[in-house]
């Protein structure tokens, strides 16, 4: 018996509980909505969370992972949480909750089979996933701010062009960078 066997055995239950914990961070009524309707289009949050949880769990359990796929799964979860009503800790913190869920559910089995080393490895992998999630979160927020800038640029594209023609230099560039004639 390895930790991986143990995790595989309890995979569905752990994922279920973890998803519940994630949904628990949504205010009240949403919870019922997210759980009851799994349609990909009428309930994208619920669908995305459930689909990603499986991929992340497999990676954490120690399966060989397709890094691109894992990265995408983490990003799917974080991308939604990054713009919802969460603090950064709350947005990324859901990944650490997987540790708690595993500890709660497998404590006695781990003790019984002496799998503490394995558990530590699993928890380290969760740390890795959380670090990746941190990166995703930062990237999402950065993109959000870039989007505001881009919105402005697009909105005024032709005005900027006109201004540049009148000024005969690129708008927004510091004067010092002006090529010396």
């Amino acid at each position: 018996m390895t930790i991986r066997d143990l995790l595989t055995e309890h995979k569905d239950a752990i994922i279920h509980k973890w998803i519940d914990a994630m949904y628990g961070t949504y205010p009240f009524d949403t919870v019922g909505f997210l759980r009851s309707s799994r349609d990909q289009f009428s309930n994208p949050v619920g669908h995305t969370t459930a689909a990603s949880a499986v991929v992340i769990f497999d990676a954490v359990a120690g399966d060989d992972v397709d890094e691109a796929r894992l990265s995408e799964a983490i990003e799917d979860v974080i991308r939604i949480r990054a713009i919802q009503n969460f603090t950064p800790e709350q947005a990324v913190g859901v990944l650490f909750v997987l540790k708690t869920v595993i500890r709660q559910m497998l404590r006695s089995a781990i003790v019984r089979h002496g799998l503490h080393d394995g558990q530590l490895e699993v928890e380290s992998r969760i740390d890795t996933v959380a670090l990746l999630a941190f990166g995703k979160y930062a990237a999402c927020r950065e993109r959000l701010h870039m989007m505001k800038v881009d919105d402005f640029k697009r909105g005024y594209a032709q005005l900027l062009r006109r201004a540049e023609r009148i000024l005969d230099k690129p708008v927004g560039e510091p004067d010092t960078q002006k090529p010396i004639a």
């Binding site: 009240f28 019922g32 799994r38 459930a50």
Partner: protein, 335 residues
């Protein structure tokens, strides 16, 4: 929720006590007359009040392709261009709850199992409730008509075709309770619906359950003296009320709750029965570009005219070679 339940129980108790302590004439004759008057008066008043209010704009919610080019097939019912289409849309809406049915439309699923079931059930049970209630309402005409028309007997025969029990069990009785139960259960167990529900959402449900329950109790269990009841009801419709002896308390509870429902109806959300016909997003054709809609209170036009615009920008416009109505010289000369 509890307040609504208590209110309905209290109403039932009042009726029971009243029937037991000699207020039978009040409950069996006076109140029904009063309730019917309030119902008719209230209903008409509400409808007239709504109908009198103006419809400034023609704003149908279009549920399909508009009528535009000849070779593009329009959605004649979901986006009606003609009056006939609009009537069709309203019929679908009123008779078949078209918009609620829409909820069942296609979903692409990746997740493990069924979804969106609540919406589909809502349509089904809502429809079931309304039609059973209508059927029960029609069946009750046997108490107001003498002789009982053949059509009514036929309806009763079909309704009781399962031939269970004596007297025959009507399917509509069972289904209406089931439908009300579903509508109530939704409010109690769907978090979403519970969150939005008010006391005045629960009250009519409990009232209807009480009404239907007392009716069922009367027919199948208490087995009140039907002949005596008919004497009373015929008296009521012929404006010659009599109060025969020996009608059980169950009947008085039933008719009291009915009176409450009738009196409550015009002042509650139950008025959706009338309101649905007046909803401007449904009962108007989608032809506003073809036929002008007139706003009865259309305010006078007030806008910045071209002349004002040109006055402000004339020189810039001339400089840019844009045509002007008045040149600078003309404008200067006019001043």
């Amino acid at each position: 929720m509890f307040i609504s339940l208590l209110a309905v129980i209290a109403l039932g108790c009042i009726a029971w006590l009243g029937a037991a302590s000699g207020f039978q004439y009040l409950i069996g004759v006076v109140l029904p007359y009063a309730a019917v008057l309030v119902f008719i008066g209230g209903f008409v008043w509400r409808m007239v009040d709504w109908a009198k209010s103006p419809v400034p704009f023609r704003i149908p919610t279009t549920g399909g392709q508009q009528k535009s080019l000849d070779w593009i097939k329009p959605a004649r019912l979901d986006s009606p261009f003609t009056t006939a289409g609009t009537v069709g849309r309203m019929l679908l809406e009123v008779l078949l709850f078209r918009s609620l049915f829409r909820n069942t439309s296609v979903e692409i699923q990746k997740g493990p199992r069924v979804v969106y079931y609540s919406a589909k059930w809502l349509w089904l049970f809502a429809l079931l409730f309304h039609y059973c209630f209508l059927l029960i309402f029609i069946r009750h005409f046997r108490f107001f008509l003498e002789p009982v028309p053949f059509a009514l007997t036929a309806i009763e025969f079909v309704d009781g075709i399962m031939q269970i029990g004596v007297p025959r069990m009507f399917m509509s009785d069972v289904l209406v309770v089931a439908a009300l139960g579903f509508l109530l259960a939704r409010r109690l167990f769907s978090e979403k619906v519970r969150y939005i529900s008010l006391a005045n959402d629960y009250f009519p449900l409990f009232l209807l359950l009480g009404l239907v329950g007392s009716g069922i109790w009367m027919r199948y269990f208490a087995k009140v003296d039907i002949a005596a009841v008919k004497v009373l009801t015929m008296g009521l419709v012929t404006m010659n009320p009599v109060l025969p002896e020996g009608i059980g308390a169950a009947f008085f509870i039933h008719i009291f709750l009915l009176s409450c429902l009738l009196a409550y109806f015009p002042f509650s959300k139950l008025m959706h029965m009338g309101g649905v016909f007046l909803s401007p997003t449904r009962n108007l054709p989608n032809n506003t570009r073809a036929v002008r809609h007139v706003n009865p209170w259309n305010p006078p036009k007030k806008y910045r005219t071209y002349a004002e615009y040109e006055d402000e920008f004339r020189e810039l416009m001339e400089e840019a070679g844009l045509p002007v109505d008045k040149t600078s010289e003309e404008a200067a000369a006019a001043e």
